[in-house]
Symmetry: C2
């Protein structure tokens, strides 16, 4: 009996075949494969990996034996067969992430996932030593998502040449946009895999406008082939998210809206795993219509985070505000807020039912800035953001939703969220010495803690009788009656505090 | 020759007459007077001051001799005449304030006025010792406007009985809403005069909903007579502003919109000096239509101060955000932000072409809270607010208007304003180490200072060559080109900084 190869569930199975290298295999050769288990069939695209090598990749979502058969217009690549055994997932392998409970996320095995990402747009294009440093830095943080671009970036602080050209250079030096450079893609996916090992989702940015190499001016056909090629190579990595663009609206002059819709469709045709897909705006008035059914979640760039709930309600999908401005001190106003302000915006966003993303942009003599190149972190927000994530992982199961209607006082001012038996009130710039709104109204056995979101401390809070201020009235009509909270909480009268209330489990 | 009485220009001339005290003079007797100078005639209402005393008051706006003649349906009060000499205004008397340069204010003598007010809603209803303390405290601050209510307040922290009932109590103890209590009004206007001596405008709140004495339920006729009576007594004080209500929308069930419009008309009929008039909302969705022609400026309650320019543009009138939340630590979220946040909101507001108001709400065992009762200040914002006012008084003449279009990056993030040869950039939560956007583009001799808005320091800034980052491009098209500032400024990379640029006067 031949040895059947094994791949863990949600791991990646790859089969290679030799085939033609003449002409332009990237354009001339069609290849796909159909993977089967029992009656079920899953089609995946194949791809050319240079030097006569052709591959198909597949991520099994079920244990047990799978068989496959290739299909190609090229005879030697057609009808090739094989099989493998999908084994149980190893520890730490929870599968791909998808939307859960409408506004939230979970891994395929049901484990909740809270996107707490950072941004290193061009990290895979830097010298290898810096890339190694980036992975080392990430390991020390709690970030579980990384926005990263396939293409290198021409932008302030980004004038260095990339490690690899993304397309194969001709003799003239100019790149041939009909021939991807397999070295570049191989390196990129290796880094995607390295992130997967660290438990980090790769939020892959497929297009962006900041370009001096000509990638932005590829033809529609070249763009479509690019998206198909990328999907064929990368879809089988479980930690992949597709971000169609960073600031897509700055590309509309050469890539009109219909092309963006088509890109989404091409991904859907070639990614049977339905990885999360979204697209990011530059101008706040140019949000892509995230209601389109092929968009899984709202990716947004907006500093005005008290509007998070509105965005959620507008689209009926999870909101990931990947750029609520970055911590830093460069001249550009999207990248120079204080660490305290960024942490504040994270808490506001999460307490209003959304998710936010981090970036760091501190001025550096060698332009080694995290948001673009990775390397080291120099700021203070990343620690507090990790602290917030650990709090959520401790108690949140289905996802946080706002306690009160965000338009209704006081929820336009402060923020509060609940998930089953846990709730949080985040007070931010508000510093009352006592609080009760949003706390449980039924009597019960509650564990109440005071969280200092900046100092990263959790200490038992002092419960008191719910304050009952003198009623607010107009004549004989009582207005603004304080809801009957079961108790109140004493607070230190300083900013950036949060309250956590957990219902103690009933003794059985 | 009889001695002609004198009153300084913009001071108050008062003439008293004896008349009937039987029946109800407040309702039964009509009295007004016409003051004349050359061909010009100004009609002012008279009022009953109790115990058979009737008065007319007049604020001359021109020096020289004025004569008057009374008119009344009561014979003994009709056709009474007199005269006085209006003398030059004394030092510190700049006249009443009105709108200037569309979005700003100035005294009648042309001196710019920047409303930097605070709030002590019910200060004139407190024990006299506390009222004295309030005036003493105000003298140490730079506040030049005080919001204060004619009626006492029934509200959290406000359960004490007022110094005077506003209407005359009957034997039952219930007040007769057809008979104002002259003691109460006399005390109120004495305090208005005391504020005038301190150079503080009295922003008189005519109605509010927080009532247990029945003032809110007066009939339409009683309300109209009240507004007329108040105007007759107070219009001649030059430091008066009329605020029709605090949170008028919480009174709409008993005082419908048509009545609010009528109140404004009654004031116009009885106040020939056209004091500033506005009205204040409770719910941010219930702004009164400040476009109505009888409203001089927008009085608004809204914490979201980055929208200041939108409000200005919506109404085409000055914006005074009297309640961008107060500094304090009480449980109510409109009154518990940090001092730093309130100062930050003041700078944002002013740099976006508006004005803000202060209040303080620190918890007190005896409920002696500034925002309601005055007394002492316990916080830190008031000093920084005074510092900002002093900066404006030093250099601003016509009023500040935003440097760039507030919707256009970076002016949605940071704030910058200009008036002739002075401009300011306020960076707030942004902390770049270098800046150039919004600085002058022409070469010239500029004095550039760094302002720490919290530490209240002004130090010369280090000018450098304007930074020219690598261009932002999409392919061959350059986007986001940095405007060609004549220079850049080095900054300390911490929050709450502002830059001031002044053009040095040309040597002649």
């Amino acid at each position: 009996m031949t040895n059947v190869p094994t791949t863990e569930k949600w791991g990646m199975f790859e089969a290679s075949f030799d085939g033609p290298s003449a002409g332009n295999p990237y354009v001339d050769v069609e290849l796909d494969a159909v993977f089967s288990q029992f009656g079920r069939e899953v089609r995946v695209p194949g791809f050319y990996d240079g030097q006569g090598a052709y591959k198909v990749r597949f991520m099994p979502d079920r244990e047990g034996e799978w068989t496959f058969r290739t299909r190609s217009t090229t005879a030697e690549l057609d009808g090739r067969t094989g099989s493998f055994l999908a084994t149980p997932p190893s520890k730490g392998n929870h599968g791909p992430v998808s939307v859960s409970n409408r506004y939230h996320f979970a891994y395929a095995d049901g484990t909740p996932y809270f996107p707490f990402g950072t941004t290193c747009y061009a990290w895979t294009h830097q010298p290898l030593a810096i890339q190694a440093e980036t992975l080392k830095t990430l390991k020390e943080t709690r970030f579980n998502k990384l926005r990263m671009g396939v293409f290198p970036k021409d932008y302030p602080y980004n004038t260095n040449e990339p490690l690899h050209p993304i397309y194969t250079p001709e003799e003239s030096g100019k790149e041939d946009f009909d021939r991807p450079n397999p070295d570049a893609f191989r390196h990129f996916e290796n880094q995607v895999a390295a992130l997967g090992t660290l438990g980090i989702e790769a939020d892959i940015i497929i297009f962006h406008p900041y370009d001096r190499w000509g990638y932005c001016d590829m033809s529609a056909e070249q763009d479509y082939r690019y998206v198909a090629y990328l999907t064929a190579r990368l879809a089988a990595y479980r930690n992949v998210w597709w971000s169609l663009a960073n600031e897509y609206d700055f590309l509309l002059d050469t890539k009109p809206m219909s092309r963006w819709d088509r890109f989404f469709h091409i991904i859907e045709e070639n990614d049977p795993y339905r990885h999360l897909k979204s697209i990011h705006n530059g101008d706040v008035t140019m949000n892509y219509d995230h209601r389109k059914p092929w968009v899984s979640h709202v990716c947004i760039q907006n500093w005005d985070v008290k509007r998070t709930f509105d965005w959620r309600e507008d689209y009926g999908k999870p909101v990931v505000n990947d750029e609520p401005e970055y911590e830093g001190n460069i001249i550009q106003s999207w990248g120079n807020i204080t660490a305290q302000e960024l942490v504040h915006r994270f808490w506001i966003t999460v307490m209003r039912g959304g998710y936010a993303g981090h970036g760091e942009t501190y001025s550096d003599a060698e332009d080694l800035i995290w948001w673009a190149k990775g390397g080291q972190l120099h700021g203070e927000a990343w620690k507090r953001i990790g602290f917030l994530l650990e709090l959520l992982k401790e108690d949140v199961r289905s996802g946080l939703n706002p306690i009160g209607k965000p338009g209704v006082f006081p929820w336009s001012r402060v923020s509060g969220a609940i998930d089953g038996d846990v709730r949080y009130i985040y007070l931010g710039e508000h510093q009352p010495v006592v609080w009760s709104t949003g706390l449980p109204t039924e009597d019960g056995d509650y564990e109440v803690d005071l969280i200092d979101t900046w100092q990263m401390t959790v200490t038992p809070a002092r419960k008191i009788a719910a304050p009952q201020p003198h009623p607010t009235r107009h004549g004989s009509e009582i207005r603004g009656r304080r809801p009957d909270a079961a108790f109140g909480v004493e607070l230190p009268g300083k900013p950036y505090q949060a309250i956590r209330v957990r219902k103690k489990p009933q003794a059985r």
